[in-house]
Symmetry: C2
Subunit: 325 residues, 2 copies
DNA sequence: GATTAAAGTGTAACCGATTTCACATGCGGA
DNA sequence: TCCGCATGTGAAATCGGTTACACTTTAATC
């Protein structure tokens, strides 16, 4: 079943059949004839042949550090729904936080396998930018602000600024912070910077020292919470860069016999299910993850539409709100 | 940069270049010449052209009900790692539990876009089987036992049998059950069947009535737990088909002032992070999700290798163990 | 009624690879 | 010396579409 047999059956040229599927310039009579034959045979044009000729794969490559994560899962869900709405499909790659793999997939995808790339990056080094520069397809970065590139991200600084302030407003004075590595600008650096700014503004500069970093695992939150508490035994508030870490911390503190939130108030980010269950009064920052995925796709679609024309990179900063679960 | 220019630069025919990339039959001299040119130019064969000719896309289509789910995320992670190990890529589709979409994607994928399909199904109706029958590529079903098809699934019956027995061994006598819809054979029917069998064996047939169904959302667990408790106020044990539901139930029961696990012991399935955090003594069933994803890919690869030969469908049933978080 | 623009059509080149086939070699064995 | 086999090689057909181009028909304008 190829275009030629359909053309023959319908008594038209193969160009006519192609036009039938693409854009007009075909008489009502022939259109109808072709429609009938197509219906009878169930014929559908070969995607690969189309791609070979047109150079468009109708696929978007999505690169994420991991997929079994509440926040990333929600972003991907948003991306996917919008991708499908636009008639595209999604090629997914997981890097397991390995920068080498990230570059590898970026490379493989750009090799004309996809029409565009969405990258949920964590750490951006010189090499990333070099590869990104040479990419032959448009790219949108999600979750990090990278000047000069299309990106959609949340307002991490103000979110954590507000959250930290809230802790003081609630009368907490001895805060601690469990963060992520500084190379991760959004999650690691920005959030902690906000924390530091607040404690300085409040005249408690020394609190910036109540700081440890952890990877994104529950287990890490568990361990680091213990370490932090050994360092300063009289903590009455603990802010974590993510809900997962916060959940780990909760577990550890409970095992230590600490009452939450009476003794120590805990805050996180993500509005994850885990936050709603762990302790009724865990405070968390809600980010609209699905939305950020959807916006990323829209940006990509715009870039795709403007392909060829000189296009400036776009940035989109999304808001947040505080949730007391 | 196409195969012809490379051939010219290396002073060989285009067939030789093709052979260089595929299988041998090329002299050491030419191989070296081509290698050099390839290295200089960074040339890589066009995937689409290869596909058009060979009919192999090196892509596996994966269809899941949702992606922002702990268990599914872990399965997908397993699938993906094994897919990449075999040099394939993953095309992902999410159905949002809409059977129509499921069929749609199944159809779209089989339309020669992918070499094989992995389906994380929930509900299998006649129409599913019809489409599956006509699929032109091999398929593996994950999470459900569907006779006559390749599938990998967990031993839901025995898992929930053991879990329910454990509740009795712990001295609980008034059990309740929050389940999923019966059309979902694995999660809905089998697990509840095991529960019923145990309570009957223990001479407590009436407990089978302490039963409500919910969808997979946390919220549903929350609401249904309330309903169930109104029906029978003296429950001392509650088993839920999934950890997410269990977490919802936990939240509700706490709001009602019930002490967990002293008053009511709660069990779930998934060994989700949520189970480890919610209440220290939530009991959960651990399934090796990553493993099931990996095995599914292996099955698919075998089917791909045997393509053409008559192949019997394979089944793989995986075990479980009980975790007291 | 002539002129011109717009709509409709088919031919053929093209996208970039793989693979069949026929033909060259070089070598060992009879 | 001749035959047969294993190994290498390139020409050309093929996969299944899209689209530039040239051409014809139809409709619109003056």
């Amino acid at each position: 079943m190829n275009i030629d047999s359909i053309a023959e059956m319908a008594g038209v040229s193969r160009a006519a059949v192609s036009r039938y599927f693409n854009n007009g310039y075909i008489s009502e009579k022939k259109r109808e004839a072709i429609r009938q034959v197509v219906e009878e045979t169930g014929y559908r044009p070969s995607v690969q042949a189309q791609t070979l000729r047109t150079k468009r794969t109708k696929m978007i490559g999505v690169i994420v550090p991991k997929i079994a994560s509440a926040s990333i899962g929600r972003i991907v869900e948003g991306i996917l729904s919008m991708i499908n709405e636009n008639g595209y499909q999604m090629l997914l790659a997981v890097t397991q936080n390995d920068p080498k793999k990230e570059l590898e997939y970026l490379d493989a995808f750009s090799e004309k396998q996809v029409d565009g790339v969405i990258l949920l990056g964590t750490v951006f080094q010189a090499e990333h930018k070099k590869i990104l520069k040479n990419l032959s397809v448009p790219v949108v970065i999600v979750g990090q602000q990278v000047p000069g590139y299309n990106c959609v991200f949340h307002d991490d600084y103000h979110a954590f600024y507000d959250l930290t302030r809230l802790f003081f407003e609630r009368g907490r004075e001895k805060l601690g912070y469990i963060g992520a590595i500084r190379q991760d600008v959004a999650v690691g650096a920005e959030r902690y910077r906000a924390f530091c700014d607040v404690v300085r503004d409040m005249g408690h500069e020394e609190l910036a020292e109540n700081y440890v970093t952890a990877d994104f695992a529950l287990q890490a939150g568990y361990e680091k919470a213990g370490e932090l508490l050994e360092k300063c035994r009289d903590l009455d508030g603990l802010i974590c860069a993510t809900d997962t870490m916060a959940a780990g911390a909760v577990r550890r503190l409970r095992e230590m016999g600490i009452r939450i939130p009476e003794q120590i108030l805990i805050g996180g980010q993500g509005d994850a299910q885990i936050a709603r269950v762990a302790i009724p009064s865990l405070i968390t920052l809600h980010y609209s993850y699905e939305k950020s995925g959807e916006i990323a796709v829209q940006m990509l679609m715009e870039a795709l539409a403007e392909k060829g024309t000189q296009q400036a990179s776009k940035e989109m900063k999304l808001g947040y709100h505080i949730v007391e679960a």
